[in-house]
């Protein structure tokens, strides 16, 4: 056979053919974990304009470059003080095992930042491990208890998430142990759906009343965040501000999930890059930029990503998948177990199976042992420290004494798409496609 004559179809590459054939044999959509695998414009398509003559940089290791951020300055009596602008995103106990939750809590606490609960409520271990804990208020209200609201440092009303805007969640039966089932008041072993919208409010006017209720229950102490999956980001941001949010969390389509339909993960939502810009524009139009804090998530991996999100106007970022990777998600260890799941390190998205080869997204005690919570905490701490250092380094190179002083003018885009989405000029030009 002449290999040169064998050509793959761009329309039907092997993974598409495989999916068609899986669908033909199973007759149901594919449910999986992780985030979008398709290529989308990202922060990689932006670069910083380091200072030289027209602007002067700060000395890398000597001159101060602050990283602190306060969330909840609008209404909360007790705003949250973060030492770094990088938080850990909401991930449920159930989706994650207890060791993973503990590792994230201790690692984040060591860096002076917050972690977030997820569906199913707050565990005692998690509260203990996290010096700053954000309590998610989700449509399913699994495990929702007013005492936990009162114990939280902030409340995040989740209206959607980047991996599945408009869709509910799913914790497959294979992951439901006695403890998870009890926390969610459901029988063991059944597929636990999480509703796509809240049971007792719809629309922005109701949301305003819901926020009032949560504030009344907690005596206006806690910052109230509103989280949305990035879609109509400008409108959603404006409406959340109007409804009285202290902070807005925008989760781009690269954001991960423990389990949902692939068509949601790949085909719904917009990338994080344009979402940040749209949210900032909305806040500026309302004269609420920096008054209502903006937290951005979805595919944040490096200090460069953090710095670029902040430069576009975010107050902080939130990381989910990357924090799991710090705990060894997709690491080349226990390779035979990846193979048993039909995958390999680097390509795993099998969180939905409950058989995580590295002991993160599992409730199986044997697999969980593979994640030592103390070592895990150290790894999370190291990773957050690295992101912070990288972000500071880039900020100093742009002459900034606080990472929040980074601004869109510090960046250019390498592609027309990124230039249009981020509203910064294409490198070497003054051109912002669609804007100038």
């Amino acid at each position: 056979m002449d290999e040169r004559k064998v050509r793959e179809s761009a329309t039907f590459p092997p993974h598409v053919i495989a999916e068609i054939q899986r669908a033909a044999s199973e007759g149901l959509y594919y449910i999986r974990g992780s985030g979008a695998k398709r290529a989308v414009p990202t922060f990689d398509d932006l670069v910083f304009l380091g200072a030289s003559i027209s602007r002067y940089p700060l000395e890398g290791y000597r001159e101060k470059c602050d990283t602190n951020v306060t969330i909840g300055t609008r209404y909360a009596k007790k705003p949250i003080e973060l030492k770094i602008p990088i938080t850990i995103a909401g991930m449920s106990f159930g989706a994650l095992g207890a060791n993973a939750k503990q590792a994230l809590g201790h690692g984040a606490s060591a860096m002076g930042t917050s972690t977030t609960t997820g569906d199913g409520g707050m565990t005692e271990e998690e509260r203990e491990a996290s010096s700053l804990l954000v309590y998610q208020y989700l449509p399913s209200r699994y495990g929702m208890e007013p005492d936990q609201l009162r114990k939280a440092d902030a409340i995040e009303v989740v209206a959607g998430q980047g991996a599945k805007p408009g869709g509910g969640g799913m914790l497959l039966g294979q992951k439901i142990t006695d403890r998870v089932a009890q926390m969610r008041t459901l029988p063991k072993g059944i597929d636990q759906r999480s509703a796509c919208r809240h049971p007792d409010w719809t629309g922005p006017d109701d949301l305003e009343i819901k926020i009032q209720e949560l504030r009344e229950i907690t005596d206006w102490e806690k910052p109230i965040y509103v989280k949305v999956g990035a879609t109509r980001t400008k409108f959603d941001t404006m409406l959340a501000v109007k409804a009285g949010a202290d902070a807005i969390v925008i989760d781009g389509m690269q954001g991960g999930t423990a389990a949902t339909q692939t068509c949601f993960i790949e085909d719904v939502g917009i990338p994080t890059l344009p979402a940040v810009r749209q949210a900032v524009e909305a806040l500026k139009e309302l004269d609420m930029h920096r008054e209502v804090q903006l937290i951005v998530s979805g595919g944040i991996r490096t200090g460069g990503d953090v710095a670029k999100a902040l430069a576009l106007g975010a107050d902080a970022v939130s990381i989910g998948m990357a924090s799991l990777m710090a705990l060894n998600c997709n690491a080349p260890i226990y390779e035979e177990d990846y193979h048993a799941l039909g995958t390999r390190p680097g390509s795993c998205h099998h969180c939905h199976t409950g058989k995580c080869p590295v002991g993160i997204t599992t409730q199986d005690p044997e697999l969980e042992k593979r994640l030592d919570p103390e070592l895990g905490a150290q790894r999370v701490r190291n990773y957050l420290a690295t992101l912070t250092l990288e972000c500071q380094t880039l900020a100093r190179a742009c002459g900034k004494s606080h990472v929040h002083n980074l601004e869109p003018e510090d960046m250019v885009a390498l592609t027309m798409e990124a230039a249009a989405m981020a509203r910064v000029p294409l490198a070497g030009t003054d051109w912002i496609p669609g804007w100038s």
Partner: protein, 228 residues
């Protein structure tokens, strides 16, 4: 009796007073809240065995997330009355709007009149007794607890229900996915009798029919494709 007048005090001050008193030494456990005038979030987040009477109509989320307290609304209640109640009692002497007792984990919610759509949505252990009828999609995704309806139930009753038990004396317009009628055995009659007694509603428990989950949609299966 402690009197809190919402014409003179803000909702914030009323709730703060109730929260502070729960933590303090006030020995008078009786409260009346005057002039609610449909205001939202009245008497929310109580966690002490107070006896609170709201004299008039309440807005959204009255008595929500209640623990231990007895809250009586002498009038109608807006959306999400007794939302996520944990224990204690919330009693509406009039009618209730949508999503009454939504996601309630425990305690008792009594509505003397009708309740609108989605009554008992995602209920997780609460007992609900409705003297009148309930609107469409009531007990949607109901996980645990009991819903007793003395009147009729609207369409898609008990859609995608889990382990909650539903009892209706009148007609059911239609049952939702995976909700089926089940045999009313003596223990169910006794259960309904007890709930009606606790609710102070006079009705014959033997006149009720029981509905619950067929448990066919608990796991994703190709055979269920028509339901999804």
């Amino acid at each position: 009796m402690n009197t809190l007048d919402l014409e003179r005090m803000a909702v914030r001050d009323v709730n703060q007073r109730l929260h502070d008193d729960a933590a303090g030494t006030n020995t008078d456990q009786q409260y009346e809240i005057l002039n609610p005038m449909g205001r939202h979030a009245i008497a929310v987040g109580l966690n002490h065995p107070f006896d609170v009477t709201v004299r008039g109509h309440a807005g959204y989320y009255c008595g929500s997330m209640n623990k231990e307290a007895t809250v009586t609304i002498e009038g109608n209640a807006g959306v999400g009355v007794a939302e996520n109640i944990m224990s204690g009692t919330v009693h509406v002497t009039g009618y209730a709007s949508q999503s009454a007792a939504a996601t309630g984990h425990g305690g008792l919610v009594v509505i003397d009149g009708d309740a609108s759509a989605r009554c008992g949505i995602s209920m997780k252990g609460v007992d609900i007794v409705v003297g009148g009828s309930v609107g469409h999609m009531s007990a949607f995704m109901a996980q645990s607890g009991n819903l007793v309806v003395c009147g009729d139930a609207g369409e898609s009753f008990g859609d995608s229900i889990y382990e909650a038990q539903l009892f209706v004396r009148g007609s059911v317009e239609s049952l939702g996915a995976d909700c089926v009628e089940k045999e009313m055995r003596p223990e169910h009659v006794e259960r309904v009798r007890g709930l009606l007694e606790r609710a102070g509603i006079d009705a014959d428990p033997a006149a009720f029919r029981r509905y619950g989950s067929a448990r066919q949609l608990y796991n994703f299966k190709i055979g269920n494709i028509g339901y999804y």
